[in-house]
Symmetry: C2
Subunit: 389 residues, 2 copies
């Protein structure tokens, strides 16, 4: 009978922080297309009428940064100042510097104190998987993403022509304390930017009927489920005009929606020599394979690194009592089956490709597109066999 609540949120591709993430990753992809060995840390700030590109890039690629920034904003749908942003009319300032040679010597193979390819920074990263959904993601973040994805779909195909790019969703789920599984949805919050000519009542009805209900599993909605649609009452001003956006400011939306801890490092704009990104992807890969192998129903892994050092400084695993084999054995299996040095991760997950644009909205994890190599469960069988299951 005992229950508890858990809440996660997501944002659409038109949310200003996500606009920044998508510009950063578009620039990373453009560089990787020409220069696999570039070092990229591309940060973006967007505000009313303004895009600032800053960070550290060392590359031989010849990339038109301003053009990529404008094209990304256009693809998202900000093509008119009425919408809060116009890809044609915004200023784009470019202030990239090169990677510090002091950092580069720690990261480059054969240089620095560790001759292996060292981690691009210190830090801690978590990976997580659980059996709440078929993609082995927690329920609330999985469906929060689907809501804003649906918002973008109906906006782009014109079915709800008054929708505008900026949106946020939030799902509060009731969990069964015994099983740890979601039982029903308590509250859905959805705010979407809109044209000035639709009133709040019509908008609320359309959002519930055409966005919320088609996406959420009907058996999880009850007569008590609350829908809070555009609860400020008005959301015409949106995008970078309503809120300044920065790369790396939606790191919980990007990962597990708070269902697992986060190490703090952002993903977008970073090439995979940065363990903030690559080791978090590897962590998801490890955790997902452990759950897929049936070694546990829920798995969280923490890894950490020292800058310039290849081997992780720590690896630990938590299975919250859902494990079929001892946790110590799982740690052993992780070390045996996964090379968690930066170079090992990059090779195993084939990360030196221009695949990052797609990751920069609707979550880096739980995705089914082929680029998301870290979602493969190709190690599950070997793990299972090695665990004697």
């Amino acid at each position: 009978m005992s229950e508890y609540l858990f809440t996660s949120e997501s944002v659409s591709e038109g949310h200003p922080d996500k606009v920044a993430d998508q510009i950063s990753d578009a620039i990373l992809d453009a560089i990787l297309r020409e220069d696999k060995h570039a070092r990229v840390a591309a940060e973006t700030l967007v505000n009313t009428g303004l895009v600032v590109l800053a960070g550290e890039i060392t590359t031989t690629a010849n990339v038109d940064y301003i053009k990529i920034a404008r094209e990304t904003v256009k693809r998202i749908g900000y093509d008119n100042a009425d919408m809060g942003f116009d890809y044609r009319g915004c200023a784009v300032l470019v202030g990239y510097d090169k990677q510090s040679p002091d950092i580069a010597q720690g990261v480059n193979e054969g240089q620095g104190l560790d001759l292996d390819q060292g981690a691009g920074d210190q830090g801690l990263m978590f990976g997580y998987a659980c059996d709440e959904t078929p993609t082995l993601m927690p329920f609330p973040i999985y469906y929060a993403h689907r809501l804003v994805q649906r918002q973008a779909e109906l906006r782009k195909d014109g079915r709800l022509p008054w929708l505008r790019p900026d949106a946020k969703s939030q799902i509060t789920c009731v969990y069964d304390a015994e099983t740890g599984l979601p039982k029903r949805i308590d509250t859905v919050v959805l705010s979407t930017q809109h044209a000035p000519d639709i009133d709040h009542k019509a908008l609320t009805e359309a959002v519930i009927e055409d966005i919320v209900k088609p996406v959420l599993p009907p058996e999880m909605l009850t007569a008590e489920t609350r829908f809070l649609i555009n609860p400020t009452g008005r959301f015409v001003i949106g995008g970078p005009q309503g809120d300044c956006g920065l790369t790396g400011r939606k790191i919980i939306v990007d990962t597990y929606g708070g269902a697992a801890p986060h190490g703090g490092g952002a993903f977008s704009g970073k090439d995979p020599s940065k363990v903030d990104r690559s080791a978090a992807y590897a962590g998801r890969y490890v955790a997902k394979n452990i759950v897929a192998a049936g070694l546990a129903r829920q798995c969280q892994i923490q890894v950490s690194y020292a800058i310039g050092v290849a081997q992780p400084t720590s690896i630990s695993v938590d299975t919250f009592g859902t494990n079929k084999v001892p946790n110590e054995l799982i740690v052993e299996l992780v070390k045996r089956h996964f090379d968690l040095r930066p170079k090992g991760i990059i090779q195993q997950l084939d990360l030196l490709r221009p695949i990052y644009g797609k990751t920069a909205a609707y979550g880096h994890f739980g995705r089914e597109e082929p680029e998301f190599t870290w979602e493969r469960t190709d190690k599950a069988e070997a793990l299972r066999a090695d665990a004697g299951l």
Copy 2:
């Protein structure tokens, strides 16, 4: 006998992301000094030779933003381009807009759909406390902060004159799986920016003797403890020249070092009508009082909000089996003893004061300075009595 590792990190006030946080909070404080009812969302980007101030500010205060930005950089110690940044010579661009009136109507009392003061945004926030240290903070983040604080102290008082402002620390701790308590320190990582004229060996020795050993509890250091000091081998280029800094990019350093989940919302630069900040502070206050009351040894609370709505959309509590009374009762006690509407939080914790500068480095939680009202345990006795303990 069973053990596991856990790692947390911190950064010094000279780290570029923290420079951005400190500028954002210095601007917030300057505004609050003149105008308690201002709406402030001050974002900052710092890069080689550049400070960008952007975001949304609605205030009657008359504040010299550029001067505050320069003074903050000076106080941190970047007063020469040799150091990676010079407060006199950097460019400062100011691009603040006003708070969107569509958001303001949801937040202002007596406007919008909910006539109470609504939450400034949707979102989820966590609070956490545990009995690993006297301040009821997890051990690794607590000591990671102390390491970089010590680095700044020895730099500023001139004892180690070759130290420069930028630094990072990381602690990997061995935990006893039975008790869940820290047993010993496995690895310490410390990277500090330095003058070019000190060699790696001398630096390593001085850092271990003068920074690491005076700070860490000696009984937690063993013959096996590893020290990784400046593992790239060189760290002369630092600060905003070595790495672009953004407000809100050290949210795990700001909170519990990954020992608890994070909702994703940043703190610095935000006035307390933004629940990202005020409700995370309230969450800490609640969790700390529950542990201080002896209701549990470890407590995590999640709250969530819908924009424009005063009452939280969810409240949940996890005590990881350390509770002395049922979790359901703890949730009840929280609702009874704490007003978690934005206005209630602001009043209870007295948040409309210029107290934010100090929070912007070395952690928002576990601090003993009087400004940190959310660290008070003044509700513990009443909670204990009400729980019948």
